[in-house]
């Protein structure tokens, strides 16, 4: 074991290797590691965010569902109310219509009665006149008493 120039040679070799490592080996590897670390951290953060968002969305969906249910029941209630109203309206209309028809019928009946009465009166007048004619034929002047008999007939 002699100490010789190898000592210096080794020092220089070592220095060159360290420099090469410093310049070309270490930085890209460490950069890649750091980048991957960041990527993983980002990925984890994104996953967490995603989960959070999903939770929010679920919550929102539940709310929407609740709203929709409420609205649906409102609509049903309204519809029922409206249906009742329509039924009531129809009932009212029908009643009115029936009253109207009944009134029309009543009026017609009245007319018929009046007409029948008029007719009857006429006939009674004719009959009374002819009866009275037959009775009074001989003693009563037809022309002299016709005006008073007509007066009588109008009072019926």
């Amino acid at each position: 074991m002699n100490i010789n120039l190898t000592l210096i040679g080794q020092s220089i070799t070592f220095a060159i290797f360290v420099w090469f490592c410093y310049a070309y080996v270490w930085p890209p590897l460490v950069a890649a590691l750091a980048e991957r670390q960041k990527k993983i951290a980002d990925g984890l953060a994104a996953a967490e965010r995603g989960q959070h968002e999903q939770e929010l969305a679920e919550k929102k969906a539940t709310e929407y569902l609740k709203d929709a249910k409420g609205q649906a029941s409102d609509i049903i209630t309204q519809a029922q109310k409206r249906a009742n109203e329509i039924v009531d309206e129809a009932k009212g209309d029908a009643r009115t219509e029936a009253g109207r028809i009944k009134a029309g019928a009543d009026a017609e009946i009245e007319q018929e009665i009046n007409r029948a009465r008029e007719h009857l009166r006429q006939e009674v007048v004719v009959l009374a006149i002819s009866g009275a004619e037959k009775v009074l034929k001989r003693e009563v002047d037809k022309d002299a008493h016709a005006s008073s008999l007509n007066e009588l007939a109008a009072q019926l």
């Binding site: 002699n2 080794q10 070799t13 360290v18 080996v25």
Partner: protein, 298 residues
């Protein structure tokens, strides 16, 4: 497997000798043929095997990691990418927990140290004769060299030059940042104003040399212990592999026993090589952190 021409002692010595290139006593340049020649070459020589393996493994490490870095994306990683990222995260965690300053060089340096030292140490697990044997065969076949004079140490961390070289670089870097952060004055104060200090100026002046002696030893001990720890552990491990390898020359029974021993030691050694790489890295981070620590005023 001990060469029959070598005694056990020669075998061990042969394995502990680096392939050294330098100037011979006669003025010509070349590989040292013996351990004596290698030490005679003095400081102006170089261990070819140490440099070759450390650079090869270092380039291998950077190639693998550069490939992963090029393909790095934030998408799901696969195979090699996954493994590399695991190491990066481990290093990043270690640096973040131990280093409190702000310096972009510390983490890449820790990564380089950990993986490079681990790969270097891993060479220890390759059976001790394979690569030196191959080198001897290549040397004798293609270059006409005497195979007994071809030395090939495949584990750079069993060469103190390699561990000292790394520790020295770490030490210089920590000194540089120490001076940069604390200033020359602050750095000098760190060496001279602790652990003894006094409000009396005269007493303080007396304390300065004592403080300096203590602190300077502590300062120098850092790179020394850093490199010697790795070197010592790997050298001891290598030595045990060599001793086990000698058993293969001692007949069937001893050879099979040696085989089991080698397996057991290699499995145990996996722990050691990883641990040593980790310790070297952690201490480097700690030293860099110390360079960044501004001591509270007394």
């Amino acid at each position: 497997m001990a060469d029959e021409a070598l005694t056990a002692g020669q075998y061990i010595k042969h394995h502990l000798q680096n392939m050294t290139y330098g100037q011979h006593a006669d003025g010509s340049w070349g590989l040292a043929h013996t351990a004596e020649e290698a030490s005679a070459m003095g400081f102006m020589s170089i261990n070819v095997d140490t440099m070759f393996w450390s650079i090869t493994l270092g380039v291998f490490f950077l190639w693998i990691f550069r490939r992963a870095a090029k393909n790095a994306t934030a998408d799901t990683p696969t195979g090699l990418q996954n493994f590399i990222e695991m190491i990066i995260e481990f290093i990043d965690g270690s640096v973040k927990s131990a280093f409190n300053g702000r310096n972009g060089i510390v983490a890449p340096m820790a990564l380089t140290i950990f993986v490079w030292v681990f790969l270097i140490n891993f060479m220890d697990l390759i059976p001790v004769d394979w690569l030196p044997g191959t080198a001897a065969w290549i040397g004798s076949t293609f270059f006409g060299m005497d195979p007994h004079h071809i030395y090939f140490k495949v584990v750079p961390s069993t060469d103190p030059n390699a561990t000292f070289g790394m520790a020295l670089a770490v030490f210089m870097l920590s000194m540089y940042y120490s001076v940069k952060i604390k200033g020359v004055k602050g750095f000098a104060a760190e060496l001279t104003m602790h652990p003894f200090s006094s409000s009396n100026t005269l007493v303080q002046i007396l304390f300065i040399p004592i403080n300096f002696m203590l602190e300077f030893v502590a300062l120098i001990a850092k790179p020394l212990s850093l490199s010697l720890r790795l070197y010592g552990n790997m050298f001891a491990g290598e030595m045990i592999f060599i001793l086990i390898a000698i058993m293969y020359g001692g007949g069937w029974a001893l050879g099979i026993f040696g085989g089991f021993l080698q397996l057991g030691w290699a499995i145990f050694h996996i722990l050691i090589i990883t641990l040593q790489a980790y310790i070297f890295m952690t201490l480097t981070i700690v030293y860099m952190d110390l360079a960044y620590q501004v001591p509270e005023e007394h």
